[in-house]
Symmetry: none
Subunit: 401 residues, 2 copies
């Protein structure tokens, strides 16, 4: 749906929406004829809610498309994940919870090893320990280039996030990583005229980094790739009229929420019970809450079927606390599927539950992949869920007379 | 989904996909409360496969739209049949299995009868016998026009296919058939400047045809209409990374497969058992197989309910031979519906089964219109089936991180 069309119909309302996202929620049976993780889990509270809800299956980015958590979240937040693409560098920076500005250009950084002639011998500097790379990142923070600011953040092992900031900077820039050893790193090239200034700043930074690191071992040089700016997302306040809060522990989910204009709350930890406590604590301050549960996906990607089942049951046990707040609309879904049997994200549509007192309930007292397949929401693009939730929250006015 | 988006994600894989198309598969009950042809048919093998598959209903060109076999096949092959329209002339030529080149312009030809003043007295020359029109087509093959080549192929009775070939030819051209008698045939007019050269070649051909045929009776003239070039379809290899083979007896299906870049195998006949034998014979040579079963549609269009039931049962009995090859993905569907009770193609969505070991099975052990309506694929555009099949075949990489 066209955002311009939707925005004109947005109306104020004193209602509250909760979007509970269990990361990688959708699953698969371990064997033919078996049950999925969600179907296996004992979920009396979700099942009771399902009976009063409309059920369906959501597709993050179209049929057959497996998404990463970035595009998966954009979709469930109501954005078209193909139109609003988040480049690799920007995603990396969202992951370290850095407040990226609209003009900033971000990249994925690697420490690497070069020989005395500057030829690459190890693109990952022997995957040096995070403590080591954290020190090198600090060392590089002294680098100064006139006209630009630089920010570096350690990530893990040889990886770090790289940000260059200057007013009006434009991408696109080529990678410095030649993706093979035995050759020198590449200079950054501007792939458009407007990007020339950015290329110059980054190349000056790299020249200095070469000097700063030259006597270090094994990490004596850096590689940068995936230069990207953030997509300019319309914000929740402007778009949906919502004063939204995000409750998520991991940086990337916090970053995407910030990108959507949500207030990202400081969480105590990634324990679901802590997250539900945050919801209770801030209940009066916002009218939209996104809660992110990480461990469903973690177990799915590890191939731990039973672990994922337990994680779902843990969330189910917390549902009465959420419902005790009397939210007007509750969405329970995932950003994508992560079947334990595949040990990865997958393209399978995601079970989705939408509760409100105005919903047309399917009357199916079980929240699972196959009950959702029979639900009245149908198989829908994930970006359609927010408009339906807004309608149920009384926030979309009538179109035409 | 945008092809450019999809192409970027296509990944190589050592998997095989079989698309089994029963032409006009979808049906209707003979009377209220009754069963459709597919529901009536005894299909133990398809039912067993259905239990392990995702089921759904596919719409070739949108709600309420009845398609011909050309657009129906484009859709199930993954193309948007409205964007990639095949003009009537081009479709006629695909039907005679002629290898139409990108610059060729094709038209539907009719033998007709004119009086001594050149006014039409019969637009179909009394539907003269095919043997007769075949001779006249041969006679006209001697016609030469400088700068262009012409190809004619008899079809049936008064109908023939007409092709003009010259480098860089452009359409659009007006018809010569005035669609009424008592008037003269019309000269071909170029409907754009670029088409002027083509119009000139065709008019020169028509002038000579008038001379060649003038003493014949009853067919002493020709009419041409539906001038069209082939749409430029992205090929299966480029688009999906697939090395695809088509097993189809009838010319039109072979033509559309060739248009999609498939290798069209020489078939012994249109007997389903022969077609399955072809599949076995060529199993190691390709990674995608399209098999076309004609007789389901033939019986549907004849209004022969029992005949269509038998045709479906014949295919069901062959399924073990297909499954013995251990394909990674199997699609069983149709290009459109042809309910016997309607004696024609219809707009009803088409029962569709998608099997793979990665599918989320609906667990419904019956392949029929109403079980498919409850399936987890939902009611989907037919062009979405290929991306889902590709995902199940491990041929689509993750989008974003």
């Amino acid at each position: 749906m066209d955002f311009e069309f939707l925005k004109k119909l947005i109306a104020p309302a004193k209602t509250k929406i909760v979007m509970l996202i269990m990361d990688g929620l959708g699953g698969l049976p371990l064997e033919p004829g078996g049950k999925t993780e969600l179907e296996t889990a004992h979920t009396p509270n979700l099942d009771k809610l399902a009976a009063l809800s409309a059920l369906g299956l959501s597709q993050p980015a179209g049929p057959g498309i497996t998404v990463g958590s970035g595009p998966g979240h954009l979709a469930i937040f109501g954005y078209d994940p193909i139109e609003y693409e988040i480049g690799r560098g920007a995603l990396e920076v969202l992951g370290v919870d850095f407040d990226l500005h609209p003009d900033d250009i971000a990249a994925r950084g690697n420490f690497c090893t070069v020989d005395e002639n500057g030829l690459l011998t190890d693109r990952r500097a022997g995957r040096l320990p995070t403590a080591e790379s954290t020190k090198l990142v600090e060392l590089m923070s002294a680098i100064q280039v006139k006209g630009a600011e630089f920010f570096l953040r350690p990530i893990k092992e040889h990886r770090f996030a790289f940000i260059v900031r200057a007013p009006g900077l434009r991408t696109a820039l080529s990678d410095t990583d030649p993706l093979k050893i035995g050759v020198a790193d590449l200079p950054v090239r501007a792939l458009s005229r407007e990007a020339e200034r950015a290329a110059e700043y980054v190349n000056q930074f790299i020249d200095q980094a070469r000097q700063v690191l030259k006597d270090r071992s094994p990490a004596n040089m850096i590689l940068l790739r995936g230069f990207a700016k953030l997509p300019e997302l319309p914000k929740y306040k402007d778009l949906f009229g919502l004063n939204a809060a995000a409750i998520a522990a991991n940086g990337m989910y916090r970053g995407v929420s910030r990108l959507a204009g949500m207030t990202v709350l400081d969480v105590y930890g990634d324990n679901p019970a802590d997250e539900f406590a945050m919801l209770e604590e801030h209940w009066n301050e916002f009218d939209f809450f996104y809660i992110h549960i990480k461990k469903t996906d973690t177990y799915g990607e590890k191939g731990d079927f039973a672990g994922k089942v337990c994680a779902i049951e843990e969330v189910d046990a917390l549902m009465p606390r959420l419902l005790a707040l009397s939210p007007d609309v509750v969405i329970v879904s995932g950003d994508h599927s992560s079947p334990a049997v595949m040990k990865s994200h997958s393209w399978h549509p995601v079970p989705t539950l939408l509760y409100s007192k105005h919903v047309r309930p399917d009357g199916i007292a079980e929240f699972g992949e196959r009950t959702c397949a029979r639900g009245s929401l149908g198989v829908i693009p994930a970006k359609h869920i927010m408009p339906i939730a807004l309608a149920n929250a009384g926030r979309i006015a009538k179109y035409g007379a």
